[in-house]
Symmetry: C2
Subunit: 158 residues, 2 copies
């Protein structure tokens, strides 16, 4: 079978992808284990991070866009976080339905605790890897992300 259908970069990227999927799965389960005793999961943690990172309270749909995730799933997790008191919903002066998601003290404490656990974990994981290489990885990952996102837009318009 002619593997020559692929260009050299295409071939290199193909070889990369399976390992990428596997790394993603490993990172998620490691993250789950890391924060499980805080009542968090990777997904909840990620959403708390988006809330913290935004600085200004945002409605759910905006958080979802920031994360590149589906509105509906983010909504479900935010609802869970709300019923567990990690998050409150504040009235949005600009939109009656789209309430603003705000961290509670409990939510802030949970997020800080997660970050405190994350630091030594990620330090160990990254130990021995040149920062230069990690930056290269970041650059390539971002480039691929941009390409996929822009082709998504093209297909959406179609």
């Amino acid at each position: 079978m002619p593997k020559s259908l692929r260009t050299p970069p295409g071939d290199a990227l193909t070889n990369l992808m399976l390992d990428l999927f596997r790394l993603n799965s490993l990172l998620l389960t490691a993250g789950d284990r890391l924060v499980t005793r805080l009542g968090l999961t990777s997904a909840r943690w990620q959403i708390l991070g988006a809330i913290v990172n935004a600085e200004r309270p945002q409605p759910v749909a905006w958080l979802a866009r920031d994360l590149g995730a589906n509105r509906q799933n983010v909504q479900r997790i935010v609802n869970d976080l709300h019923s567990e008191g990690l998050v409150t919903l504040a009235v949005n002066p600009h939109h009656r339905r789209a309430q603003l998601v705000v961290l509670t003290d409990k939510g802030r404490r949970a997020f800080d605790a997660a970050m405190a656990l994350q630091a030594p974990w990620v330090n160990g994981l990254a130990e021995g890897l040149p920062v230069k290489d990690l930056q290269t990885v970041h650059r390539v990952v971002t480039a691929l992300r941009k390409k996929l996102e822009s082709s998504d837009e093209i297909e959406d318009r179609a």
Copy 2:
């Protein structure tokens, strides 16, 4: 908040992870779209790939180990593939319960068709990215994977 809890590589890896999750999600949905008209999904495609790649027929549990996935989920998807005629189960002379998973002609055709769609897609995606950088990415990803897998083993023994 002292970000100084993290080493420089740890910090670089942290910055990388969110984009990595997002890229993973984008790749999976792009893969789904690519092969959906073949009756495939990313997960099914990946499992067909593992069967092809193994050359010798294997039972489900071995395929799962090759993929770094859960036995139970691979089993479910293999069952689906079986009921759709992409795969047959052959008697294993060494183990009465653990039947061997074998591609049917239909399964082979579906896999080949998927790869034929994948080539131009991945070529476009990888276009302009230096092979050298992609190799660096692969090296880093593999290193991280190895670290996470070995620490998994340690925790399993505990």
